[in-house]
């Protein structure tokens, strides 16, 4: 009996080691994940460690309310820790795109794990209370607790994160937790009466975590799918951006870095409005330049003009243009436009390309992403438009996609102001694209022009002579309310307007 007592003590102390290791691992997983998803690692780690330690205190406090078969409680908690901690990373990945208040869930999970781990040590000390001398007990329990902590903090960055990843790390320790619980059930079966339910629970949890461990790759994929509502049909990170294509029964959508670029259901509204007001105002356009627009949809519209001989498309990302030249669903969408022999695709930085360019064009279509950062803001600057000017023939027409004049009137009219400040004459207009909302464009010409829109192609789905006229009327709620600065590289005025206006809109 004495030998059995003795080994029982050691089994329990080993359990402390495992629990301490697991506990710290869950805390590190939460901290790392929060840094990944929310940024600012110093902030995330310190708040998570704080909440975790505090919750352990709460757990220790609550431990005095537990009575009855303490061993029974100990195993129950062991299983609970295994379940909560084990699934924590997977849960956090899944809820990140869904929950508005991700932090609430994050801290609840950290708090719950902390409370459960905090319960364990006092509980264990009570179990061993009369079996070991007090000073020996305190010394041993805490020694194992802290060894476990050291172990966890070493293997986490060195082995676990690089080898297993976060989801599998937390599942692995969940399995370990439950394994310990299971072993204790077996070891102390004599002292545990009516432990049948506990045993079944342990087995079920163990199986669940094992399955999740095997399927963890899918969880990660699923979490991205959730962020996009629809089925992801293509997802790839190029050197420059994350390209994601989704589709549902009705439409296909392209996202670059999570920002919607088009929906197949209504992109014609955008691309017809982008291309035709400018192109229809040129007599026999021959050479056209497209900056951005690697999806080939603007090119599709340009190819409606029989006089066009050559289209030069400059897009930064070769992965984009490759995709829209090779995937059959995308080829159907752009009508094989990028495979047309008239089209020359150049994968290069638009600013650098334009600075070195000596060719002149009848039309230039500028279709960049919105000016949401200082980098992209350069492509809407006075210097950029100064380089654009010599690329446009004297009678040529340029058009620039210029974000939403409804959501961001200051941004929209700032682009107008910028173009005018370098000597362009402008014609701003807008239309409604359901998946974007109210959208704006600006036509820019080097000389004032008398006749407009003489050569509008027939058989367009959205534009005709009447809808075209309407686009140039701006109601008051799409006008700028302040005196605007032109966007220059040394003030990046547009990016500041844009951040303010879209920031408010998305809050």
């Amino acid at each position: 009996m004495r030998a059995k007592e003795h080994s029982a003590e050691w089994v329990l102390l080993l359990a402390v080691l495992v629990i301490a290791t697991c506990g710290l691992i869950y805390e590190l997983v939460a901290g790392t994940l929060a840094s990944y998803l929310l940024g600012d690692s110093v902030m995330q780690f310190s708040t998570i460690i704080g909440v975790y330690l505090f919750s352990m205190g709460v757990g220790s406090f609550l431990s005095k309310y537990l009575s009855g078969n303490l061993l029974h409680w100990f195993i129950r908690i062991e299983l609970l820790v295994g379940a909560v901690g084990g699934f924590s990373a997977a849960i956090l990945f899944l809820v990140f795109p869904l929950a508005a208040s991700f932090q609430v869930i994050l801290y609840s999970l950290v708090g719950l794990t902390g409370i459960l781990v905090g319960l364990e040590i006092p509980l264990l000390m009570r179990i061993l209370e009369h079996k070991v001398e007090f000073k020996e007990l305190v010394s041993r329990v805490f020694t194992f607790d802290y060894i476990g902590a050291l172990l966890a903090s070493l293997i986490f960055p060195l082995i676990l994160v690089p080898r297993l990843g976060l989801i599998r790390t937390s599942l692995f320790f969940g399995i370990l937790n439950i394994g310990v619980g299971f072993y204790l059930l077996y070891f102390f079966s004599a002292e545990l009466k009516k432990a049948g339910l506990l045993r079944v629970t342990a087995v079920v949890l163990l199986l669940l975590e094992l399955v999740a461990f095997v399927l963890s790759e899918n969880i990660l994929r699923y979490s991205e799918t959730m962020a996009y509502n629809d089925q992801i049909v293509y997802a790839k990170s190029s050197t420059y951006q994350r390209i994601v294509l989704t589709r549902n029964k009705r439409e296909m959508r392209l996202f670059l870095n999570g920002n919607l670029q088009f929906s197949s259901a209504d992109e014609y509204r955008y691309h017809e409005a982008l291309v035709h007001p400018a192109l229809s105002s040129i007599d026999n356009p021959k050479r056209v330049l497209v900056l951005g627009g690697g999806d080939g949809l603007a090119v599709r519209e340009l190819l409606r003009y029989a006089s066009v001989e050559k289209i030069t498309l400059v897009d930064l990302d070769p992965e984009m243009t490759r995709l829209f030249r090779s995937q059959s669903i995308l080829l159907k969408l752009n009508g094989n436009s990028l495979l047309n022999p008239k089209v020359k695709v150049i994968n290069s930085d638009a600013f650098i390309w334009l600075r070195n360019n000596t060719e002149t064009f009848d039309a230039v279509v500028v279709d960049f992403p919105d000016p949401s950062g200082f980098s992209i803001g350069k492509l809407y600057s006075t210097l950029f438009y100064n380089y654009l000017k010599p690329a446009l023939k004297e009678n040529g027409v340029a058009v620039i996609q210029s974000t939403s004049p409804y959501v961001a009137p200051n941004s929209f009219w700032c682009v107008d102001e910028t173009l005018k400040s370098v000597g362009f004459f402008t014609k701003p207009y807008h239309n409604y694209v359901p998946s974007f909302g109210e959208w704006g464009y600006i036509i820019a010409v080097r000389k004032n022009k008398e006749s407009w829109f003489q050569h509008l192609p027939s058989s367009l789905r959205y534009l005709n002579a009447t809808t075209l006229q309407q686009m140039f009327v701006f109601p008051d709620d799409m006008k700028a309310k302040i005196k605007l600065q032109p966007n220059k590289l040394n003030n990046q005025a547009l990016v500041h307007y844009f951040e303010e206006e879209w920031g408010k809109f998305l809050d």
């Binding site: 050691w10 172990l151 050197t239 350069k378 100064n386 990046q492």
Partner: protein
């Protein structure tokens, strides 16, 4: 398992893990430490180089090809005096404004920007117009600056109280009383900026020698910036940090050592006007002032002889004999010239002239700050909260002046890897001990110092940095200590010797900025041209 065995095992496992950790820990970062060729320069102190093996004749010899030297050369060339030779110790021209480049971009090895020029500096404005830095003049005659060279937004950020704020004047988390003092200080500086003396000159002008000599301004040169601040009740620690940052930034001198006149000049000297910029804007390039070097040296490149250590300059029968060591061939040669311009720091000039009295004066009065400039190659780094990476990135209370992003002025969208240029004036000790100490620090130790400073704002910098190249400037700039600006010594040392040997260097100008070097060079060249015209 026995208790003892278990503990043994745990300890073994723990220490194995610890060893594993430490093995992984220290990664050697690629790079080197380079200094202005001090080991060759120190040959000067030894007198065992022998007699010249060849003599050539030139109208003018220019010693040193920093901004002063290049500017003198360009001026001679423009005025049609083309028979001159410029001798440079290093393998390239540029001095403090030299630059380097790698596959990502160019980057500065020292000076890296110029503010919008003050009005009336006609030669300087002409130079900038010639080189397309000024693209045109508007209807009001104001210069229009090339937008590719005006510093792009976001220009500056300061990491303070755990956050990157916009601009360098402390504001985030700064108490109201300090903010009030800062505002009061800046408005006082603004007042100085606009003030003129009874002689009609600007109180604080560029070049410094164009400033008013009224007594109330001259008196500012008798105390330190710190003393002036205390007298005027500017005691806020945030403000004092900022002013100390500024005097270290421009003059390599702490505010408790810097002349108050020079300290105020930092804030009050700039009066630039432009069609598309203001006096507080700056012009910059990936290679820093290396851009201006390449423009200055364009026309005179064939006159520059690099790898040439000048070892003596003396007057002999109405001529100036300049002896130099061809460093590669280890041969002494001589040039016999009508004139010589010494575009080197005064401690070097005095030794070349072998004038013991001059050497002694300079030893007593001139102090040169050593600087360390580091170029770091790194991919995108983790960021703390607040403003995004700017051109100039400064950390509150750091020993360093922070870093400048050399790729900031690139036009392209994607710059996945960057060159960051980190500046550290070694002002914590007296210059000669700091210099000695710096020369003994290994590359690994510099790297560790850098990591300790920058990991506060980029926690992953240690793992991410790919290359760290260190440039040590032993005598980067002369300090504007009290008395240097208005004490008269500068004028005395600037006097030409026998109308034949002339001096041009920013240490004679009082402060080390581009415009001073530019005008030092032009003025020395003009002396020679006027002399030639009068003969």
């Amino acid at each position: 398992m026995k208790r003892r065995t278990f503990i043994k095992l745990s300890i073994a496992a723990g220490s194995a893990a610890a060893i594993g950790l430490s093995c992984k820990g220290k990664r050697r970062v690629k790079g080197s430490v380079k200094g202005a060729s001090s080991s060759i320069g120190h040959l000067l102190r030894e007198q065992i180089l022998g007699e010249p093996v060849s003599f050539i004749k030139k109208e003018v010899v220019i010693v040193g090809s920093g901004i002063s030297g290049l500017s003198a050369a360009r001026q001679l060339h423009r005025k049609g005096l083309k028979d001159f030779l410029m001798l440079e110790l290093e393998e390239y021209a540029g001095g403090n404004a030299a630059s380097g480049h790698n596959e990502i971009s160019s980057f500065p090895l020292g000076a890296h920007y110029v503010p919008i020029p003050n009005p009336g500096l006609q030669d300087y404005l002409d130079f900038l117009k010639e080189e397309d830095v000024i693209t045109s003049f508007d209807g009001n005659g104001l210069p229009v600056y090339n937008e590719a060279y005006l510093c792009f937004d976001p220009e500056e950020r300061l990491f303070i109280n755990g956050h990157w704020q916009d601009g360098l004047v402390p504001s985030f988390g700064v108490p109201e009383t300090d903010l009030k003092q800062i505002a009061g200080f800046l408005s006082k500086m603004q007042q100085f900026r606009l003030e003129k003396g009874s002689d009609g000159k600007d109180a604080f002008a560029i070049p410094v020698n164009n400033s008013s000599t009224d007594i109330q301004y001259r008196k500012l040169d008798e105390i330190t910036m710190k003393q002036w601040m205390e007298i005027n009740g500017f005691t806020s620690t945030y403000l004092q940090w900022y002013v100390n940052y500024c005097t270290r930034d421009d003059f390599g001198t702490c505010y408790h050592e810097c002349s108050a006149w020079a300290g105020i000049h930092y804030f009050a000297g700039r009066k630039g006007v432009a069609s598309n910029a203001t006096y507080s804007d700056v012009l910059t390039w990936p290679e820093g002032n290396g851009f201006l070097v390449s423009k200055l040296e364009k026309a005179v490149q064939q006159n520059i002889l690099t790898g040439s250590l000048v070892i003596g300059v003396e007057l002999k029968e109405e001529k100036v004999v300049v002896k130099y060591l061809d460093v590669a061939k280890k041969e002494v040669r001589a040039v016999i010239a009508e004139h010589c311009i010494l575009c080197v720091p005064q401690f070097v000039a005095a030794r070349l002239l072998k004038d013991k009295n001059r050497v002694e004066i300079i030893k007593q009065k001139f102090r040169y700050t050593p600087w360390m400039v580091v170029n770091i190659v790194t991919p995108t780094l983790e960021e703390r909260s607040g403003e995004v990476m700017s051109w100039d990135n400064v950390i509150y209370n750091s020993q360093s002046l922070g870093y400048v992003n050399a790729t900031h002025q690139l036009l392209q969208q994607q710059v996945p890897r960057k060159n960051l240029t980190y500046y550290l004036p070694l002002t914590s000790k007296d210059p000669s001990s700091a210099r000695k100490e710096a020369s003994e620090i290994t590359h690994d130790e510099w790297v560790q110092l850098l990591i300790n400073d920058l990991k506060i704002v980029h926690p992953d910098i240690e793992d991410k940095m790919e290359e760290v190249n260190i440039t040590l400037w032993g005598h980067a700039m002369a300090q504007p200590l009290p008395g240097m600006i208005h004490g008269g010594l500068r004028n005395q040392l600037s006097e030409s010797i026998a109308g034949k040997i002339h001096f041009a260097h920013t240490d004679l100008a009082g402060i080390s900025i581009f415009e001073e070097g530019f005008y030092q060079g032009i003025n020395a060249a003009n002396k020679i041209i006027n002399y030639a015209a009068s003969v």
